[in-house]
């Protein structure tokens, strides 16, 4: 994890040692290999208070996290969180009642959201201990990386 004063931030939420929960980290790793200038990378556990801290004062933020919503494995969810609320059934880190969705909604209530906040959720199926992604999740990773590269061009970062 490293910090700096960059306009663009990629936040990977999850645990890369729990198979599909590490999808955010894998996306960020591949984005990093594209050598996007001035991008900052953060690996977050999903603990809400820390996440709010990461959001505070930033301009363009992308969050990548695995979700477990019951959808088909590998399904990609995309939320323009700067303009829409996040359904709290997604992005639950634990049942300790203050996770990704709550952190974003609380930051919204306090006017602390970045001006651009895109949240990508990827439906996982295997959250057991161990490294490596399910095949369907692996396929979603490439799709998201391409999507993000296009998005960055559109927003001009």
């Amino acid at each position: 994890m490293f910090y700096g004063k960059h306009p663009l931030t990629f936040i990977a939420v999850g645990n890369r040692f729990r198979h599909d929960d590490g999808v955010g980290w894998e996306i960020v790793r591949r984005l990093q290999s594209k050598r996007i200038p001035n991008a900052e990378i953060i690996e977050a556990s999903g603990e809400g208070a820390a996440l709010m801290e990461f959001l505070n004062g930033r301009q363009y933020v992308f969050i990548f996290d695995a979700v477990c919503s019951g959808a088909r494995t590998g399904t990609i969810f995309r939320f323009e969180a700067h303009s829409q609320s996040l359904p709290s059934k997604f992005f639950n880190y634990s049942t300790h009642a203050f996770s990704v969705a709550e952190a974003i909604e609380m930051a919204r209530a306090m006017n602390l959201l970045p001006e651009y906040l895109m949240v990508y959720g990827i439906e996982g199926k295997n959250f057991e201990a161990g490294a490596g992604l399910s095949q369907e999740v692996e396929q979603a990773v490439e799709k998201i990386v391409s999507k993000v590269l296009v998005e960055l061009k559109v927003i001009g970062v």
Binding site: D21, K89, T95, M106
Partner: protein, 428 residues
């Protein structure tokens, strides 16, 4: 009047539980706090593991209070191997525990419990109307996290604690870097006491058997004698003679009972009421100003007691850092020997008991871990049984609200009590 109040999924508590209240002909017939999380069998899979692995394995029981498990397990192993961790290493253990109390108490006071008293559905609604309060809470919690990070390597499930002490200890300057934040935090904690003391408080007192650790020289956090206001006074090795666990049909977590009596209460109210004289002078003064007597029997006031303990934790952290001298070695050597040992600390929610038996090679043969929420379950139900009858004329939604608030008085950590932490919630 017949009615059934069912809360299928309790919110703002940790883990998965539900509440069922049955009223028939205007009389309360049944109260069940149901815990339906499956057990995780931690005790079973500890068997056969090396004694040095216990702190890191048991830490996974809870993401909010990992230190309680790491220290309890470490102490039990040190107890078996006849090793004592003293001086600065003991102080550092106390310091990281202050960090855990701060994070946990602040989260519960502001994010989980205060919305009940203020009439909000959740903390996000509080943040809309009172952003200043929530900003304060987040900064306080972050300072607790920071103590955990500096000493433990990371905020959740720290990796730097071991049987015998630490893998690495910080130089004094790393701890001194926390001082300004801690001083701010101390002021913020005092403000927090004032804030929660001003909340509307239901009037409800019970004759509890308070059970907590007590230490001659300090407000017991990491060790002490097991005591109660109804006669328990024993070293921690006597735990099993006084407190027993039993199965009940409606809960996957074992219920605890005091031998020969009944339910008991552990946690902030018990600690405070048994150890008021050991709080720091500043914390005592804050309690006095908040109108708290030295013994507090109203569980709704636990929110104030948590705030007072938060004052104590900041105060104590500053004191420890002030006196800290970096030790020569980060840990004491521990060599396995066959035997049974005991460990117990004051987790934010109350005593967390560990007992292990190992062989002469250090292999774990038997383990028993009791979380504070498991101990409190019986008391939560008995609170509800006494709280509901005089309030039966309330409309259902209001009564349900107050019942949930009464459960949250205990900051129940259901995952801990069944040793289960569900990492993701599936769609209904």
């Amino acid at each position: 009047m017949n009615k059934t109040i069912k809360v299928d999924y309790l919110a703002r508590v940790e883990g998965e539980g539900s509440l069922q209240v049955k009223v028939k002909d205007g009389e309360l017939k049944d109260v069940k706090l149901k815990i339906f999380e499956p057990p995780r069998f931690f005790e079973a899979f500890l068997r056969g593991r090396d004694f040095r692995e216990a702190p890191d394995i048991t830490a996974r029981i809870c993401g909010i209070c990992p230190i309680a498990y790491q220290l309890g397990a470490s102490q039990a192993m040190e107890n078996i191997c006849k090793v004592k961790v003293t001086g600065p290493l003991r102080d550092l253990r106390r310091l990281i525990y202050c960090g855990e109390w701060i994070e946990s108490h602040v989260l519960h006071i502001y994010m989980l419990h205060a919305p009940d008293f203020l009439g909000y559905q959740d903390a996000i609604q509080v943040a809309k109307d009172h952003p200043d309060i929530v900003t304060r809470a987040l900064r306080m919690k972050k300072i607790g996290n920071e103590i955990m990070r500096v000493l433990g390597g990371r905020e959740i499930h720290p990796i730097n604690l071991k049987v015998g002490g630490f893998y690495k200890v910080p130089p004094k300057r790393d701890l001194r870097a926390l001082v300004d934040d801690l001083k701010w935090g101390l002021d913020a904690a005092l403000e927090t006491v004032k804030f929660v003391a001003g909340l509307p408080m239901p009037v409800f007192e019970q004759d509890y058997e308070f059970v907590a650790l007590r230490h001659l020289d300090e407000y017991a956090i990491i060790e002490g004698q097991l005591v109660s206001n109804k006669g328990i006074d024993t070293p921690i090795s006597g735990y099993d003679r006084h407190l027993v666990e039993e199965h009940v049909a409606h809960s996957t977590a074992l219920h605890t009972r005091v031998v020969g009596r009944g339910s008991c209460m552990v946690g902030p109210l018990a600690r405070y009421s048994l150890n008021f004289d050991k709080l720091s002078p500043l914390a005592r003064e804050a309690a006095n100003k908040a109108g708290l007597a030295p013994v507090c029997r109203n569980p709704f006031q636990s929110i104030i007691v948590r705030a007072v303990e938060t004052v104590h934790a900041f105060d104590e952290a500053l004191r420890i850092i002030e006196n800290y001298q970096m030790p020569d070695k980060p840990s004491v050597d521990v060599h396995p020997q066959a035997g049974t040992g005991y460990g117990c600390t004051e987790a934010p929610r109350g005593i967390c008991y560990h007992r292990y038996t190992i062989d002469d090679k250090g292999t774990i043969l038997d383990a028993k871990i009791v979380s504070p929420t498991a101990v409190n379950q019986k008391t939560i139900e008995s609170d509800l049984r006494n709280f509901i009858p005089p309030n039966l004329d309330l409309p259902d939604d209001k009564l349900q609200w107050q019942c949930e608030q009464a459960i949250r008085n205990y900051d129940p950590c259901i995952s801990c009590s069944t040793h289960f932490l569900k990492l993701r919630v599936e769609r209904e």
